[in-house]
């Protein structure tokens, strides 16, 4: 009898999930298998929410916070009362390869994670600065603002880690010691946004102006209890199967094209720029 490598029973692996590229569920599972060594540590102990596309990205998908029925007993969960849902939510926590593959088998293409971890869910260990261009602002505008952001964080003595969102923006993340509240991290990002808005005409710092055409919004709102960020290395439900790709800051420059990082290319990239993220606990000033 062959050795059993995983507790997951893969189903329907021939289903095409990205019709434009002809990518099957088997390829999605393989992607997550290959990327797991870099990804798992970043996900550990973080309640997740999923965007599932069982019929493929060209069909309607759905968003899922609660564990789906039929969740195997070996999947770790985290129960928290949700203000918005007014009931307890059993979040999925992915601490091992089997859970990640079980998610892939559910066609949970997009995996989103909270900015805090289960053992101190109320205090964030990550600060997310979401650089979000509004058309006609281009990706190059977002890159320029991200570089300005980096300069500002450097001047404050803060080390930041950057990734593409896999869609139209960029995410900068600052790992912090768990001694702040979400209110503080949110206010910090809001302050940064205001600072950038003074330095660049295209930056807006207020949500009310975030949809002004041609601007780049410094989104601070995800820094809140229970809110999530798309995981580093998660696939996105885009026609071209893009990935939210961690980068070195030196790669963030004119000509950066987020579409270059997709299910086919991302697994071949050897660098691991977020390797030390969770050891780098910093203090906000």
């Amino acid at each position: 009898m062959p050795e059993r490598l995983t507790r997951v029973d893969f189903t329907n692996v021939d289903k095409i999930l990205y019709p434009e590229l002809g990518i099957t569920k088997a390829q999605v599972i393989e992607y997550y298998i290959r990327i797991a060594p870099k990804m798992l540590g970043l996900l550990a102990e973080r309640p997740l929410s999923l965007t599932r596309f069982p019929e493929g990205v060209d069909k309607k998908g759905f968003y899922e916070k609660d564990i789906p029925s039929g969740t195997p007993s070996w999947v770790k969960t985290f129960n928290r009362y949700s203000e918005t849902a007014q009931r307890g939510i059993n979040y999925i926590v992915c601490n091992d390869l089997d859970t990640l593959l079980w998610l892939a088998n559910l066609a949970a293409l997009e995996i989103h994670m909270t900015l805090s971890r289960t053992h101190s869910f109320e205090s964030p260990d990550l600060v997310l600065i979401d650089v979000d261009p509004e058309p006609p602002a281009s990706y190059q505008d977002a890159v320029e603002v991200a570089l300005l952001l980096k300069e500002n964080l450097d001047s404050l003595g803060l080390r930041s880690y950057v990734k593409t969102s896999g869609k139209k923006g960029l995410h900068a993340v600052i790992p912090i010691a768990q001694e702040y509240t979400f209110r503080q991290s949110r206010e910090f990002v809001h302050q940064i946004g205001m600072r950038l808005a003074r330095e660049s005409k295209i930056v807006v710092a207020e949500f009310s102006r975030s949809r002004d055409p041609g601007t780049v919004f410094i989104d601070y709102l995800q820094n809140a209890h229970g809110r999530t960020m798309v995981c580093p290395y998660s696939l996105r439900a885009t026609p071209t199967a893009t990935v939210s790709m961690p980068l070195e800051w030196s790669e963030v420059k004119k000509g950066l094209n987020p579409e270059e990082f997709n299910i086919l290319s991302a697994r071949n990239i050897e660098s691991n720029p977020w390797k030390d993220l969770l050891q780098d606990k910093q203090r906000l000033v």
Binding site: L5, T6, F10, V13, D14, P19, T24, A26, I29, E30, I33, R34, A36, P37, L40, D58, T84, Q86, L97, L101, F207, S210, R211, L221
Partner: protein, 252 residues
Amino acid sequence: MWSGSITIGLVNVPVRLHAMIFDKGISFRFLHKDDGQPLKYERVCTKDEKVVPWESVVKGYEVSKDRFVVFDKEELNAAKPESNQTIRLQKFVDYFSIDPIYLDRPYVLSPDKSADAYALLFATLKKLGKAGVGKITLREKEYPVLVHPYRNSLVLTTLRYANEIADPNELEELRGLKEPSQEELNLAQKIVADLSGDFDITEYNDTYEERLNALIEKKMKGEVIVSEKPAKEEAKELMVALKETLEQLKKK
């Protein structure tokens, strides 16, 4: 082809009706696997299993399980609405005030005999943004209809009766929906704003049909169709990847 007149009070607009909807989609026929011949259907009596010729067929309405009241053709014909050749418009309403849920099937109207009356009705409705509401009898069924301008023509759209449409309130899940919080609303509105654009139906294609057409073409060229990657091969590849990753994780 149906031809007749739109009547408004004492005014007649002679028109012809043309189909406007073409239901696409590929249909298959059932064949006998052994010899490739098409199958035919026969009406078989459930009691003696014998084939029943059309002359011996009547219609029955099932009143309760296995109890029927029987009608012959004449009886049913007597109840059918009289086919007359008129579309009687009784009322004019703002076209955009009509709940699209009632719209059923559009037909193009073309002028018959004289185009003047048609042109006048078209120009008037277009100018006022109105649609005429009335009735038509088509294939022995009476429908409420709209007559409205569309591009450079008048279009007749049959409507559904009110009792053909379910009331959403009958679904228990929809009673007492919670008011979302302002924060949630803001976020949801942001998402919708993100995805907003102009409606363009040509962005949508029937991908299943496209794939079928491609398959049919291949077949016609005599190619044998094999699914591109048999499941077993896929699974094998996954297991190879899995082994490598497990080893990598172990090293850490």
